[in-house]
Symmetry: C2
Subunit: 364 residues, 2 copies
């Protein structure tokens, strides 16, 4: 194998595919990036068996072939190379020679035949959405994916595709995040798949803020994101996602319309005083024309009034401030509306294409 490419392109590709490289594994081959050169194409590939990324590299092919190189060292070498042409060549016994200008590296590669194959994904069912919109949908829901593995299905996000609508939902048992957007869809069959949170957080680092369309292909077991020169393939989580839609009740007793930034800042301030123990919570006291946010612990107390539009009954309710802060930070709207049912029921923040549910905390 022998290729010549620009350092900048190589670094860009290595940065992308290294997101699918295992950090800790008992299989050293999974810590490698595969360079696979065939059919006039240079492929850089990372694959940790759950997630695989293939990125095409622009360059001249002098000789086809393939080699696996330990990802961390390879990334560091590439980063430090001169901003110029780079030649990568496999010598005998998997020895890799990397040269640029006057500098030369030699390091041991690993046999490419040991590198796991990327799963084949049947390209029958497909939908399309722009990079920037998909990126926002993930960013605005990923924070409430479950971290703990007690219910493995909740460590992923539900992708619900039906007609020209994509709904993305995450839930960690204390809150639900929901986003909906229009998509192009080639199938009429409604589908529910659950994509691992790790896959989504890695793909979100690759997605760019542009209007280029991402093609999403899916089967029962896999999802494939086609970003043009980069392809991301992930296995799906098995099992039934919980029926989130019943959580978003339309009934409410109290409805507050409020400036998002003012509310967010007030909650962040009250949260400072609530850090003292694990059961940290803040109090929200809603009465006519006013919402009071407070906390009171052995450290001290904080309280703040926000005068705003309140409809319905007075209510006193407690929350874990982190959950409200995460949801409010995810929302782009300046003015938001929050619904409350009772002191022990969740609140719901709802806008045109999003819904956030946050459980209440029992006040002592």
């Amino acid at each position: 194998m022998k290729i010549i490419c620009q350092k900048e392109d190589l670094l860009h590709g290595v940065n992308i595919v290294s997101k699918a490289v295992s950090n800790r594994t008992t299989l050293p081959i999974l810590e490698c990036i595969l360079i696979d050169v065939k059919n006039d194409t240079i492929n850089l590939i990372g694959n940790d068996l759950e997630l695989a990324i293939n990125s095409k590299l622009v360059g001249n092919i002098e000789k086809e072939g393939s080699i696996a190189i330990e990802s961390k060292m390879f990334s560091e070498i590439v980063r430090k190379l001169p901003d110029n042409e780079v030649t990568i060549e496999v010598l005998e016994n998997n020895l890799v020679k990397i040269t640029s200008e006057n500098c030369e590296f030699k390091l041991m590669g690993q046999d490419a035949t040991d590198f796991p194959k990327i799963p084949e994904v049947e390209k029958e069912k497909m939908c399309e959405i722009s990079e920037i919109i998909l990126k926002n949908m993930i960013k605005q829901t990923i924070f409430s994916v479950a971290i703990e593995e007690t219910k493995p299905i909740l460590t992923g996000e539900l992708f619900e595709i039906e007609g020209n609508s994509l709904k993305v939902v995450s839930c960690d048992g204390y809150r639900v995040s929901y986003r909906e957007e229009f998509i192009k869809n080639n199938s009429n069959e409604p589908i529910k798949i659950v994509v691992p949170g790790k896959t989504l957080s890695e793909i979100n680092k690759i997605l760019e803020d542009n209007d280029e369309n991402v093609k999403i292909y899916y089967t029962d077991n896999h999802i494939l994101f086609d970003l043009g020169s980069t392809i991301v393939v992930s296995r799906l989580l098995e099992g039934e996602y919980f029926n989130y839609s019943q959580s978003f009740t339309k009934d409410y007793e109290t409805k507050v319309s409020i400036n998002k930034s003012k509310l967010l800042l007030a909650i962040e301030r009250a949260a400072l005083m609530s850090r003292v123990n694990k059961k940290h919570h803040i109090k929200i006291n809603i009465s006519e024309g006013k919402i009071n946010i407070s906390s009171n612990t052995e450290i001290g107390e904080a309280h703040e009034d926000i005068y705003t539009d309140v409809k319905g009954k007075d209510i006193l309710i407690g929350f874990n401030p982190k959950y409200l802060i995460d949801a409010l930070k995810a929302i782009d709207d300046d003015e938001i509306s929050i619904q409350f049912t009772s002191s022990l029921s969740p609140c719901i923040i709802e806008g045109q294409n999003y819904k956030y549910l946050v459980m209440a905390v029992r006040l002592s």
Copy 2:
């Protein structure tokens, strides 16, 4: 005590004085910032008994007095306050009320009488230097202060003041860093004092990139930096600093004139391959018109030629690359000159107002 000030000014002051607040201490009062209001002045003070910082705060004084407030919580509250006027008031029993716009915090302060006094420093001996020059002198030497406490005196930097010259020297046993600048000086008596590295690294975060003069007062036990609205007082280290000047020999066998960035990049690249064990080193092979930088370990090998001006004998010499990298990064010059005496002697990089010595490593 009751004061009114702008959030921005308060945050600026708190950020400065919190650099002298203890993080871990058995004396809770040392984890506090003191607000001391007297003689028409609002003082914010941090003091960890080694280093003390007093920063004057612009504001309206409604009532004099003083209070100590736990620094971490106070900093976080101030950071989160609205960008507006802030009122700080001490109620009964050291309860502190902080208000701004519609929000109010109450937290327990501590009795100001328990807060340690800042040492009085006699203002007899004084020299002056601009903020930006002092900042550069520290930045360009601080990295080779000893971390380990085996020789406590080496955890500080030598300040050698003589006539209109200030020399700053640090040494960790493997390398020596030296910087010299002109100063204004009101005393003819030559003086050598050793300032703790921690003091210098904290003051460097406060110094700004401007031409304002810093007044430096010193006694046998203390040094005081007067930055106008901020005063930094530190105790000095006791003991004799080693006689560094004899290390910088004028004799050499080989002298290389070279582009600094090219050399730095080549060493950084070779260093990638030398990380494999604790004894990591790189080889420098100097022959007529050429310097070759290489490393060769079980990970792999790297080598690179730089064609440049070489005077004197050929030489093959080993170095810990980190020490060379630190020195080269500290130097502003584009073109530098390096002197070598033998394969086991240190190299010396010398410019108009700096000298760096780095010990060689015996090549196996």
